[in-house]
Symmetry: C2
Subunit: 365 residues, 2 copies
């Protein structure tokens, strides 16, 4: 079995692939490599370096234009609107978030709406950058179409994730990062591969009927835009599917609405740029009192919840962000787990673009 990969080596190799093979410049490469490797380190491989294939496709299809600089097109003391100019998604996001942080330090609060961007990796990474500055951080994005509105059958909304990060006691950060769809598409693919029926509430077929047969669903998924993911709460209104759909709509309005950008349906057009839109917000904890006291108070509330009675058969109640930060700590110490397909993909890129391959990357895979 191949051993886990050192964080810094994976970061360097990923950045080198992006620079030599994807014609990203140095800043674009390191920012993108960072957010991908962070996802793998946190145990979110769906948004890790395996995404290089998708990023390569975005390049070939003319959706991502390395070297294109984002521009601020509207500015007030507490806001910016950014035109990403079809540039590299994480680079555009970094530009917007750095500016938001800088302005929020001055005025207490800043928002950014961003249009004409591309996939920016895990939303939580961006929200967390703001929380590290003693701010409440918000990061939303629309995505390629995936979800069907309540009572609909056409994929017209993205997975539209919501991320929020809030500093709490002892330097910890409450970090919520959720797709507003019940599950992401990777979960459906997994059930298809394992020939396992999906639970209800995940997807509807091209007629808008709930189905649990993952293989049947996968067969038609890429052929038409009918049928797709349900939002949190599932089909109809009985168990709150309309609520999840509403959260996705909220994200859509904040991202594509406020930026005058493309809605999920119009992202990744045949020509131009990815058209992905984001929304960021940061507001300082000292808007509400002394940050140290507030963080201790939040810590107390969360500790009460952690320590409350467990369901029979369960031994832990998690606070959001804990699983990921524990996985990250372990990965920094022991290395990052990558699956076989990802290792082979990386090795192929290294060979093709003459990048030094990490020793043992594909041993015995």
């Amino acid at each position: 079995m191949s051993s886990d990969i050192n964080y810094v080596e994976l970061l360097a190799m990923t950045a080198a692939i992006l620079e030599k093979g994807f014609s990203y410049n140095g800043a674009e490469a390191i920012t993108t490599a960072r957010v991908l490797v962070e996802a793998d380190a946190r145990g979110i491989p769906s948004h890790g370096v395996s995404r290089l294939n998708f990023y390569k496709m975005n390049l070939k299809d003319g959706h991502t234009h390395p070297g294109n600089e984002p521009k601020i097109t509207w500015e007030t003391p507490s806001s910016i609107v950014v035109d990403g100019n079809g540039g590299v998604g994480p680079y555009v996001a970094e530009f917007a978030v750095r500016k938001v942080i800088e302005k929020a330090h001055r005025t207490g609060v800043c928002f950014a709406s961003v249009r004409n961007s591309n996939h920016y990796g895990i939303a939580g990474y961006w929200a967390e950058l703001m929380a590290k500055e003693d701010m409440i951080g918000l990061a939303f994005t629309n995505t390629y179409i995936a979800g069907v509105p309540t009572f609909g059958r056409f994929r017209i909304l993205g997975t539209n994730p919501i991320a929020a990060a809030i500093p709490e006691a002892k330097g910890k950060i409450f970090l919520l990062d959720l797709a507003t769809t019940t599950v992401t598409h990777g979960k459906v693919e997994l059930y298809d591969r394992r020939q396992k029926p999906m639970p209800p509430g995940w997807v509807v077929d091209e007629n808008g009927n709930e189905i649990t047969d993952a293989s049947a669903f996968e067969k038609t998924f890429y052929q038409t835009n009918y049928g797709g993911h349900l939002f949190l709460g599932g089909a109809g209104e009985e168990s709150g599917g309309h609520k999840g759909y509403g959260l996705a709509l909220l994200v859509e309005i904040l991202c594509s609405g406020l930026s005058m950008g493309a809605c999920s349906l119009l992202t990744y057009p045949t020509v131009g740029n990815g058209g992905i839109t984001h929304f960021f917000g940061a507001f300082k904890m000292d808007l509400f009192g002394k940050p140290r006291e507030i963080k201790a108070h939040i810590g107390g509330i969360l500790t009460n919840i952690r320590e409350s009675a467990k369901a029979i058969g369960q031994n832990r109640i998690y606070i959001h962000g804990e699983k990921e930060s524990e996985a990250r700590e372990k990965a920094l110490e022991e290395g990052i787990y990558l699956d076989k397909a990802t290792r082979i993909m990386l090795s192929d890129f290294c060979r093709k673009y003459r990048v030094d391959e990490i020793e043992g990357l594909v041993d015995d895979v």
Copy 2:
């Protein structure tokens, strides 16, 4: 059958009951009556005038103190912290929201965290007030304990609703208002009365096991704090229950965390005040460009969704707030529907507090 009730007459009678029977002052009475009657008009009777019984109980138990004025205890150009001083919930909320709107008009954005308040009615009402000023409006609140965290069995969080209101085209407002629990308790009571099994994903019993027998659940619900509502997505993580729980935690942190107030578990103590906490936020649309253009753009996005293909057997895809605003329009024209129990309750209050009863209130009920 009794006829539906005129909006203005119901408002006046409700305010009179609050003034004569609950010792609310004039401003407290009219604000409270307004948010309750608005809920009935919008087809949300669970938060309508039927709540007078609950508000009366809050008075008797020493949780609500009419006449107590809210105070600003911390202020920056873009924020206030309000101590509700145990006052009337809607009056405290109105005080905070008016101040938030006033400050946001000056600086572009303002937040309020509020502690020591009481139940404030439908969250959406407060978010909508901000949206009417061409702002994005946010209103969150914690509540009496109702919900159990993922993998838990102790009720430690409220229903913790999220409301967001955003102006769109033609004077319309996107208005999202959702309890982060799968359903509110009224739904469970309804299934109990009808002896109908609940769908999975609504509640867990005192051991933390999902149950669908509403009557069995109701029997133990008021005896202990074990067992309670699941959050949006249901039990466990498979269909996203941890996401709904995370949204409830986010609300809890923004409300009780940032205000240094009581978490849901510590609301309604044996002495003192209700201890309910709120969070409000407003930011102007002109932070992002010309409001008229942005609203038209949002309107286009929402129209696309309204007009997208319906599931077989469905004929409408709703945008959030539409059902309620259509119900409200009808109620203003034709009157507000009130059920028999609510009419009798109102009539009893009128008799007891010498308030003029609306003609026909209890005819044939």
